[in-house]
Symmetry: C3
């Protein structure tokens, strides 16, 4: 269970201005609506400001405009209804994010190698590493200092897990995969499986192309559950620093992802697709093979990128949801669209 | 291998009217087309009625209208061509479903803990539990009476698996996850991984938001293979009773699913999305974040719900399939649709 | 690490015409652009022909038209700028594919059963099998000669893994699954989980239909990571010979796939869907239940097959990507398409 901390400690860590009782003890975080005494809440979205008045949290993180002490009726006036202690920050959401680790309930790892783990004698295990039950580390693999390798996880030959990794239960990392430091991988994910490379043999069958490249992942990368990052056919599949990857994501062989990209659930890159820096793929947004997306592009949910994008901005595809009865009538018209456009042009001529 | 049962026993269990030889032994279930002597078949879909005449099953479950004994040429007449024993039920498909367990080939679990399993001493293991080889149960976890925990599965600290669970091989359940009774989870699924929560830090990087909530799942829930249900950011991700979830499904943090919903493969809910009761998401039907879907809604395959739905009914999106040559011509016109609509209006004015 | 081979050995294996120094040693494969001395490259795509001049590979596989020795300015002239040794083949890409195995970096398996593996005494283990740490093989399962079973993998009761299989770490194969010979399955994949079969019970709840069929997979099949192939409800889910399956693919119960089909990431078949031979589903191309696709069909990325396809050819659906601002204007018009079409017809009448 999380420990508790004084509001003053929290304010100091966040660099927040403290208004109220710094000695109050905080043992959890919660939303404005659900917080109870002993908890810290935050106001990140304007539309929840009206909940301040009835909020039971011991303390709340607020932006300056919501922490005004007057009652003049302007946008800061809600805060005056909140009776508790206030921590003032320009970005309360970021403050909440930064303090959240203090209240994480994940069990603290105790360094050591469980006797049921199977570690090759040639593997190199750093200081203060935790290797949980039934994990397997193969020949010449390296586990960096301070890393945690969960139960039933697998690290293949010659792969390198950098320092301070957190690899959850039942992750599979194949051979010759290089992870930077501070990498988190959730359960069920697979790094370094063969890319989907096959050549037609001219007789209707597929000849496997052995995938002799590897995978290279930067620092501070988080990978969700049941995601896959395939090894390169020739050369590495490559992921930059600070990239965040959700569940069920697919990164095909030789894809290249720049720094600080965000890939939501079911998003993916086909073979040799390239993302610049700070690209965001929303849920199920996919990029086809050999296409390049420049820096600072956002693709909205279910967007399919079939051509390279060279200008920053937001891109979308897909049809809006309709009642099925309406949709049937409209969908059939999509198959007539070219004809509709031609007939319209004809009418315009006359 | 399944045992065999008399037709009379089966009829009694199903509450079916038996017409024919109740002493016949049944050792399997099959379709009308493929059934052999010794097997039980059923007619659930009108379009297969013509197969009754050539059906070799020892017995068939039929609706009253198909079990008429006259030969008058009306819709029941096919049944008269079937020479075997008949079980009459209003809902033959439901009857087939209910009896299917008798013929399940899954190996019967023998209660006991395999010596290679790793169970924390503080974990609480109920009566008649089976824990298979190399499974891992961490501190203070609870495994309810009669549950089965497959090979290589993992149950994290303080998590509760209710009674009569069936957790297949290589499932990962993180810490602080609560499963009701009679929950089935198939291999490769991950319950309680971190939600995809990160705050932009203002300098182009992502600050992780530690996910301090949990997951709460009701009774009689089945979860397929390679599906993910993330833990809440604050508070729990929540799934009601009687929910059925297929493979590759994604339930993001703080999603809420009511009772008796059905989620087919690749369907999913983004963060804080909410489904009422008896909602059906067909394959790849997804709901974006913070959207609410009311009771008794069906979303057809690949539908994308981007706004809350407040009326029961069927909803769809997506374009019909065309030959690629036709599709190319029509698809480009989609990018001109607004112009087409405006020009049409202009013409209508003149 | 891969060994090295002489160019002459490689040419002999490929049946290539050798022009240059057959004694050169080759220790790796690479692209024209990245190859270094000691590596073999290939020219498979016309657009990279211009890289031949600056290619540092010791040898290159070329098609006859690129290996002309004259300098006349025709399309073969680039090759004359390449100073190294040339292997001439009609299909350089296939040549590269065939030779790639020689340079595979995957660790060579050493036959034997790791002491931590748990093998039922009734299981049958063929000659020269490798079973890695913590793998589990249940009662009456069969592992064919020369097969490799990775760490933490699971093979259920009575399942048969044919000869020369390569099953990676953390794969789950349920009971009564039959794999042909030379089958590869990557980590996180699940074969034989229950199909998604439930009958409405008439009272708003779901009655599970126990899935009493199995899975049957042919020879020379490769299955990627985190893919699922469910067992049949009645009878088997069936996959032919030479089928290649990428990551995150879903094959539902009783689907039938012919020979030499290719299914890219996120593609899938719903229940009882059928593919003929040599069908290609591109990324996220899905087939709904009970639909049949004939031989030699290609479905492009994200195509949704909702009706049977009876003619070979290429099929597509989906909207093109647009800037979000443009997309919003056009997408709303899709909901008016039926009205637009009717109004156009009205105008045409006048």
């Amino acid at each position: 269970m999380p420990e508790d901390y004084s509001v003053a400690e929290i304010a100091a860590f966040l660099g927040a201005e403290l208004r109220g009782d710094g000695a109050l003890r905080i043992s959890g975080l919660n939303t404005l609506k659900n917080a109870e005494p002993g908890e810290l809440a935050f106001l990140a979205n304007e539309k929840y400001a009206s909940q301040l008045g009835s909020c039971n949290a011991s303390a709340v993180i607020l932006a300056p405009k919501h922490s005004a002490t007057d009652n003049s009726g302007d946008e800061g006036s809600n805060a005056t209804q909140y009776k508790g202690t206030v921590l003032i920050l320009d970005n309360p959401y970021l403050g909440y994010a930064r303090i959240s680790q203090w209240f994480d309930r994940a069990p603290k790892a105790v360094a050591g190698i469980h006797p049921s783990a199977v570690i090759a004698t040639s593997a190199s295990i750093g200081a203060s590493v935790t290797i949980a039950a039934n994990a397997v580390v193969e020949a010449n693999a390296v586990i960096g200092a301070g890393s945690y390798l969960g139960a039933g996880s697998f690290v293949g030959a010659r792969s390198v897990v950098g320092a301070n990794a957190r690899i959850s239960a039942n992750v599979a990392i194949y051979h010759d995969v290089i992870l930077g430091s501070d990498v988190t991988i959730h359960s069920g994910s697979v790094i370094g499986a063969d890319g989907f490379g096959f050549a037609p043999d001219g007789a209707g069958q597929w000849q496997k192309i052995y995938q002799i490249g590897g995978v290279e992942i930067g620092d501070n990368v988080e990978i969700g559950a049941c995601s896959t990052i395939d090894r390169g056919a020739l050369g590495n599949t490559s992921i930059g620093n600070g990239v965040i990857i959700d569940n069920h994501v697919q990164i095909a062989h030789n894809a290249v992802i720049g720094n600080n990209c965000a890939l939501a659930a079911y998003s993916g890159l086909a073979g040799s697709a390239t993302l610049g820096n700070n690209v965001t793929l929303a849920g199920d947004a996919c990029v086809v093979g050999h296409v390049t997306v420049c820096d600072n592009v956002q693709v909205t949910a279910r967007g399919l990128v079939t051509k390279s994008i060279t200008e920053p901005g937001s891109y979308s595809s897909g049809m809006p949801l309709m009642e099925t009865r309406e949709w049937r009538k409209n969908a059939v018209r999509v198959t007539q669209l070219d004809s509709i456009a031609r007939r319209l042009k004809e009418l315009e001529k006359n």
